[in-house]
Every structure is written in structure tokens, then in C-alpha cells.
Symmetry: D2
Subunit: 294 residues, 4 copies
């Protein structure tokens, strides 16, 4: 197949190299800063901003994760060139396959209007799970870097038993940590026990908070507010893994002198090759479901 | 609290002993064959068959799992006495708490008519998960008993990644087996990989079937029919863990000379104490949700 | 190569089948009760008791583990025929390679006199380690069979951190048990901690003995005498894995009503195929060191 | 007890704080740069260079690991003051207990002359094992930091099965890596297999070298010379964990464009608190053997 890979960070560079090494033809756009993309041809976008459908000739157009940066621009940190997502989409011929990560509803609608077959690979559950695995490992890396203790003897709390909570507690336990995991549902507590961790109730953490060396939060709701943070051991490291609102009160943590870290977007940062591979696999899954042999 | 525990197998005996050791008052009925029930008083059912509401004086009535044996009889293998579930329910005063396992709709309706507060603990997710953990361990015990190889070197296939599939693959992998798990959803395959097992597609097992020493099926649909069983290594052990219809064709397996075992109801058989503890915990959860301090 | 495999239990039958399946020529002697030995020819011993050097024609003669039964007889439980080891050895031509398990000094000396190149595969460290792995798994099988609890929740003590202690604690911990291991040397305790188990001092077990559901002893010296057994939880299962004198006082255990099991010779009993494979691998190692291509 | 803790890096600061938190009286010397040492009194060395026995009043004098820096100076990176080890030792009254790490023979002899009861805690096996555990974790941290892949999917080789090799392969395997361990002895290979890793022969790595994402060397002899490094995958990360001569040819690695890292003295660098705890525990063991209650 003939792929155009346009914009994004090192993950997309790795993705482009992987797709090329699978034997596909790969043209890479907006990667001037990356130096080189092995196996792929680095190209300039082929036409001026206004020419509809001018960017043809590819079986599949892969856009970055997330597709947009500020101001409707295509997310292209490895290029000096600025292109809006809208202009780019309009340049792609109708009927083309377009895969991007975190595509807003308005752009999805635009793709519909333009007759593009658009897929948001970030919505795929298999990508979410595989990304959670990398995030879990990245969180452990941060914990290793930011503490003077060994994980293998540490007493740790993981708040939340969703994707990241499940895989993070699995790896912490494997390394020898004493792992407590909190959840709200009794059935989650049964799973926590069945996997060999100590279960706790997220709604009633007060009694156990003082006992931890490291606390990882994965719940995107205020579960660690000031009152609870006051109970935490002053030498405890707090790592926030939940997105946007987050679950920790960072102001309170800082006021209390707690070391706290907001570890966002770990896959791209700590393991771009692995992250690129996951996007590649997910796009192949999408294409296979569309009848391609990827 | 004041518990009546009526009928059931060794799990219920263990349950009665555990509830008693927690400091509750326990009266045990229909356990003559058990010899003794530590901490509990072994009693005879208090009144004749027809007296409605005659069996009073308890905060909670615990019935067995499953509640009924053949012919509408209460499931009471450790007693010679035969009582129908209907007669028993009618003897319990209205307003009482009644907990049983696998209560049919008709009996649930009867409980409603009689004003009994009835709960089916077998429907609780936390019990299902905890039972799956014991089932997984029991399946490994059977595999150890029925093969001359070591699990720690064996190449095993687990078909299905539901509750039992998840916990069984976890424990087999922990013991050192080379574990392949098959599922149908891509997201399940991502989980399988994230936990470190080899993923396979349940719909396309043909290519890998010859390579296993032990196959565990957890899917209650015909996934291992004659054609597939023909591909299995003749010295492979097949263990069926799915309920009723099951997923293996046992006739075909026997015709092909494959050693195959239908391992049903493992919790009560291989770990009655653990199984009793799980029922106890679940009933306490139910009672706590009803406002009791159990 | 051309192997004669003479006597022994199901392990040696498996061994003979494995050696045959590796493409060697295998003649099997004294296995009438085994029914068949796949790939090997079942033969009768070729000559009368007194003919020195009459049993020729093989590159390597494999004797059982242990080589001798009572009264100097070759250990051959799958045959009705009785042959003494001495007679057998005298029948093998001088210069032949002979491999047996647990060969007494006197027979080793006899082999020397007869000019046989004799090797005791039981003395090989790689066999001892691999056997310990099977013993560990067998001990877990017994614990599963003999208790009504789940290993994954059990509180267990392993006394001793030799080969079996190391591999048993590894597998118990992997299954989710709460594992305490006792040793005498501080460095062993450091290893125990480094692998994630709880360390204890074998000389000072008194304080912790009441807390266990299962105790495994691997130390062949009286570490669990009557006084200590009195401290054990009455429902605790005691499994003895040490050879001959053993470390538990079985009389005291029985008097105290403790359930105790002497689990001897596990490899041959619980996993003859795996045990046969280990002997095969070890014999190949010996032959390779002698310049053969096995 | 009354401890003097003199010189060393952050490990010794942590050690001083831990000993103080155990309820002992702690005076800390040569730590001006550390800011503070919680629970301990920061003091200046009590007397001029030449006064023999002038530095009295303590039950135990703890020197750093290693005791000496260049030129016979006491290793005291957190102080501007320079003192030679000899001067320090002469200032300590005869009969005192002195514990240091890596004490050269000549200084040991001097301690003898001066009547000091000197112990090298670095020679203690329990310290070596516990340090190996931290080193293993530190090596994993470095691998996470220096690669864009996930350890949990990586194909890794650990060369050598000594202390670090054992604990490193244990943790890599736990994290989900595909772990091959090489050794020279057949018995070590049996251990490697029994723990679930893939065994390889250190003397015959050629065939498998191209397949790894990360190679850890723990053998202090040239096992990875230029010829072998040529076989390594160009994107492979090489981490050297062996001391002084090391086992990798770093010049060749650099010439070949391989990313290679010499990860020395990991305990003090990646986990000073854990490292301090280990020294504390080891010194307590020494003192306990001398009849103290530490």
C-alpha cells in the first residue's frame, strides 16, 4: 500500500519507519526537524493552500495524535511549516482513507462533507489498552527516577482500577512492591484481590494514606484533595496519571511540601517507538476491517 | 446477628463455621451428615411442613448454592431429610432476610408474595470473580494431576478471556507455562498482550492447535468441534471449564483418543473452605448494603 | 547412537521413548509391565546370569534411578524378572558407557574393576536443579489436593532455602500465596527478601508458627519437633519434602492431630514425563562431555 | 547506642537519619554540604590532625563506602574538609568499633596495630545481595530511560548469572520482557530454565546476538568484544554492569555506533535511601554478632 504520513512527533516518525519496514511505500510530510525517516521519502506538501483535492495518490493518509495543535493547526512539532487541519483535509481527494488521533466532531463532520473515509484511531479500544501498558511502565520509570528508594520494597497505592490502574498495579506487584489498589465497586475489589493486590475503597482512604511511599492516581476526579493530602507521609511521592482535571490538588500538595508530578502523555515521551508501533497496529486493524490486506 | 444456615454441601458447613467464628449466633439445619459444625448449633427444622411462618427467630436465613436439587427439593446433600424449597420459604416469617444461590424466577416471585427480602448471592459480581479465582486454581490442580509433564514448562492454550480465562492465564503464566490465550475482540487481544501472554484469535485457532500440551476451554459455545480436535496433539490434555453446553465435543474427543475432562463446579469440590468464605463475604456485603453491620 | 535402557519406573519408560524420538536406536529391557515403549524395542536380557560380557552391542547402557532395589537387585518395578546389579554389570562388556542414578560406592568400584565407564547422573547438579523444579510443583499439587483453601490466599512457610526451597517459594509466591521462607544464613535472608518473600530465621520460628495455613519443610534435620508443632495452627497442613531423616516429628504431628504428609520422590510420581526428560538431558550432557554428539 | 558517622555520600546521610530514627544517638561529621541530617547532630571533627585517640566518646564509628578517595583521603564528597583515613583512624581510641566499606588491607592492618575493632561491611554477603537487588532495579531504570521501546515487550539478554544477573533477570521477566540469560555452567542453565528464562551459553552467543533489543552484561571479563558486538542489532542498547575491566569493548561499540552505557555504582546513585538502609542493616548485623542489641 501507499501511505502518506503527515505531521506529529517522534511517534509518527517511528510509525513511518515501521510501516516502511513492513514493505509499504511511505511518503512523510512535515518532518523536516526529524533529520531522517528510515525507509520513507521526506516530501513537502504538494500544493498550495487552496487547491481542493490536490493532494492525491495515496491509499491512506495518516494524521498525528492529536491531529490538531492550537488554533486549528495540524499538530506538526517537527516542522516549521504551519497548515490548518481544514486546509489539509480539503486537499485530500474525496473517497480517500484518513486516519487520525483525537479528531474533533467538527472535523469529523468536515470529513463527511468532503467524502473522506475518516477514522479516529485514538477511539479504538485496542490502542487504549496498549497505550495504558506503556503509560504504566512510564509511571514506574518516573517513580524510579524521583525517589531514592527501591520500587521492589516500596509500599504503593494505586487509586483507580481502570486500564492504567490494572496494568500499573500488575507491573508494580511484579517488581516486588507492596501494592494496594483502591476502587469503588465491590467487583473491582474482588478483581484486585484475585490478582494478589490489597484492595481498598477509594471513598475511604483516610485510614491508610499515611502508610505509602508512592501514590499513583489514575482517577480523573478530585480523589486527593487537601484534606487527604494532609494525611500523606511527607516523604511520599505523588504521581498523577489522570488526564485534564486530574485527581490531585497540586496547589495543596505543593503547599504541604509533597513532591508531586503530573505525568501526562507518557507513551509519546517515554517510549515513542512502542507508541508508534501501537498506532501502526491499530491502523492496520482499521484497514483490515475495511478489506485491505495490511 | 442471628443466622439460620439451611442445607447445602461442605461450602455451607465452612460458611456456617466462619460466620460463627465472626461472633454471630449460628443455627445450622440439615447438616446431620457433616458430623459437626464448629461454633454452630446443629438443629432440626422447627415445625411441620404446612405451618406458615413457623420458622422464625433469625435475622437472616442462608440457603445453599444452588438452592434447589431435583424436583423442587431444597439442595441438602448432607441430610437425609427432604424438604421442598417452597415449604421452607413458606415457613419463614414475612419480612425476613433470605439469601440463596441461583434462585429461579418462580421462587423469587414466591418470596415476593410471601414478603421475604430475598437476595441471590450467586448473581453478585464480586462472588463470580472470587469463584473464578478458585476455579482457575482448581483447573491447574487438575492439569497437574492428569499430566505427567510439569506446568512450568508446558505449552498451554486458554480459550476465552472472560473471568476464568483472565485468572487462569494469570496463574499459568505465573507458574512458568508458555501461555497462549484466544479471544475474539481486538481489545481483548490487546489485554492479553499487555499481561504478557500470547494472543490468538478464537475464530482462527487451526494453525496453532497442534502445538499445545494442555488446552483449557472457558467458552460456552462449540469452539472445539471434531474438525479442530483432529488437529490437537494426541497427547494433549483437554480441560473443559465452561458450563452446560460447553465448548468441546466430548464424543469426538473420546473417539480421537484425546484425554478430556469436564471440570464442573470446581470451587465447592477443590476448595470448600475458600468457597464458603466467598459466600460469607458476599452475604456480608448484601447485609451491609441493607444497613446491617456485618 | 545405540542405547540399552534397562529397568526402572515410568520415568525410564518416558526416557526410552524420548531417546527413541530423538532418532536414536533404543532397546528396552525389564519393562514387560509397561505394555509398550513407543519407538523402542522391548527385549529380554540376552544371556544367562553368569556369562561375563555377554550383553554387548550398545553404545550406552542406561540404568534406573535408583539403580538398586532391596538386596542388591536391579530396581525394575515394571518387570517380574529379578536380576542383581552385579550380575548385570558383569554382563556388560568392558569399555562400555554405563549411566545410572544413585550408584553406591561399592558398585562404582565394581564398574572400575570391570573397566566400565560409569557415570552417576543423580550426582549431576543440573539434574538436581531440574528435579527440584518438579518437586516444587508436585508439592504445590499436594497442597492443593489436601487443603480446602486456595493457595492464592494462603499464608505459607517454607523452611529452608536450598534448591527446593528456592523454587518452591518462587512458585508459591507466583500463585499469590503470602510466602515466608526461613533460613539460617543472613545472606540467604537477603536473597529471600530480594525475591520478595518474607524472611525468617529457622532457629527462631516460634513466634510466627501459629500464623500459617501450610508449612513445607525442606531441611533434613529436626527443625519441626514436638515443641514447635504444638505452636502450629491445628488446621495447618504440614508437608515434608526433605529426604530420609526428615525435619518433622511425624509422631508428634499425628498425636497433635496435625495433618502431615511425607512427600517423597515427587518427580517420578507427579511428573514422570518431565522426570524422564531431565534424565535424558543429563545423560546427553554426560555423553557430550565424553565427545559424543547426543 | 552512640554512633559517629563520618564522611560519604547521600547514602551515608540517609544511613545517619535511619540510625537516628531507630532511637540511637547520632553525630554526623563531614556533611556540611548535605544541608541537614535529620535527627543527627552535625559536628566538626573534634581535634587536630596529630592527636592520637582524641576522637572518643562513641560506641561505633561508621566510615563511608568506599572509605578512601584518591591519595589516601577519607571519602567525603559532602565536605570541603580533607582528612586522610590514617589520621582519622589514629584519632579513634583503641578498642573502638569501626565499620567501613572496602577497607584496603593496609588500613585493616593499621586498625589492627591501633587496637581498633574494624569491620568491612562491603565484604558481607547480605550487603552484596541487597545491593545487587538495587543495582538490578537501577539497570532497568536506565534501560527505560535510554530506549524508546517498552521493557514489557523487549527481547533482552543478561550475560552472567551471578547476584546481579539473577535479580536482574527476575525483574525483567516480571515486567514482561522476553529474557534470555547466558551462563557457562550447566547447573546455572538449569537454574535459568527453572526460573522460566531462556538459557544460553556465554561461550556460544554468536547465533543469538542479533535478536536482542537490550543487552546487560554482568561478567567482568571480555565477553562482548568487537567480533561479537558486530553481530548485535544496531539499535540494541548495551548496558555494562560489571566492575572495573568490564565485559564490553566500549571502543568497538562506539565505533560500531552502538549505544552503550557503563552503569557503575548504581545503588548510591539511583536509590541512596535504599542503599543507606542496607548499610544500616548490615552494620546492625555486625554489631549483633558482637553482642550488641542494635
Amino acid at each position: 500500500m501507499n501511505f502518506a504520513i503527515i505531521g506529529g512527533d517522534m511517534r509518527q516518525v517511528c510509525l513511518a519507519e515501521l510501516v516502511a519496514s513492513d514493505g509499504h511505500s511511505v511518503s512523510a510530510f512535515l518532518f523536516e526537524e526529524a533529520g531522517s525517516v528510515k525507509g520513507a521519502e521526506l516530501k513537502a506538501l504538494p500544493c498550495g493552500d487552496a487547491a481542493a483535492g490536490c493532494f492525491g495518490g495515496f491509499d491512506c493518509y495518516i494524521l498525528p495524535l492529536p491531529v490538531t495543535a492550537q488554533g486549528g493547526l495540524l499538530n506538526a512539532p517537527l516542522s516549521h511549516r504551519e497548515v490548518t487541519l481544514e486546509v489539509l483535509l480539503r486537499a485530500i481527494p474525496g473517497g480517500s482513507y484518513v486516519c487520525g488521533g483525537r479528531i474533533d466532531d467538527e472535523y469529523m463532520a468536515l470529513c463527511g462533507e468532503l467524502g473522506l473515509r475518516a477514522y479516529d484511531y485514538f477511539k479504538r479500544e485496542e490502542l487504549a489498552v496498549a497505550n495504558a501498558a506503556i503509560t504504566a511502565e512510564g509511571a514506574i520509570q518516573i517513580a524510579m527516577e524521583e525517589t531514592g528508594i527501591a520500587i521492589s520494597k516500596a509500599s504503593v497505592l494505586v487509586v483507580g482500577f481502570g486500564r492504567i490502574g490494572k496494568l500499573l498495579s500488575h507491573r508494580l506487584h511484579a517488581l516486588g512492591a507492596d501494592v494496594t489498589v483502591s476502587a469503588r465497586k465491590l467487583s473491582d475489589m474482588a478483581w484486585i484481590e484475585a490478582y494478589g493486590y490489597k484492595p481498598a475503597n477509594t471513598l475511604a482512604l483516610e485510614g491508610i494514606l499515611p502508610g505509602f511511599d508512592i501514590i499513583f492516581n489514575t482517577v480523573p476526579a478530585r480523589v486527593l484533595g487537601e484534606e487527604r493530602l494532609r494525611l500523606v507521609n511527607p516523604s511520599c511521592l505523588c504521581i498523577e496519571l489522570a488526564s485534564k482535571p486530574g485527581g490531585m490538588d497540586f496547589n495543596a500538595a505543593s503547599m504541604l511540601g509533597l513532591k508531586s508530578i503530573w505525568a501526562l502523555s507518557l507513551p509519546g515521551r517515554v517510549a515513542p517507538i512502542a507508541a508508534g508501533r501501537i498506532i501502526r497496529d491499530t491502523i492496520y486493524n482499521i484497514l483490515r476491517e475495511e478489506g485491505f490486506k495490511a
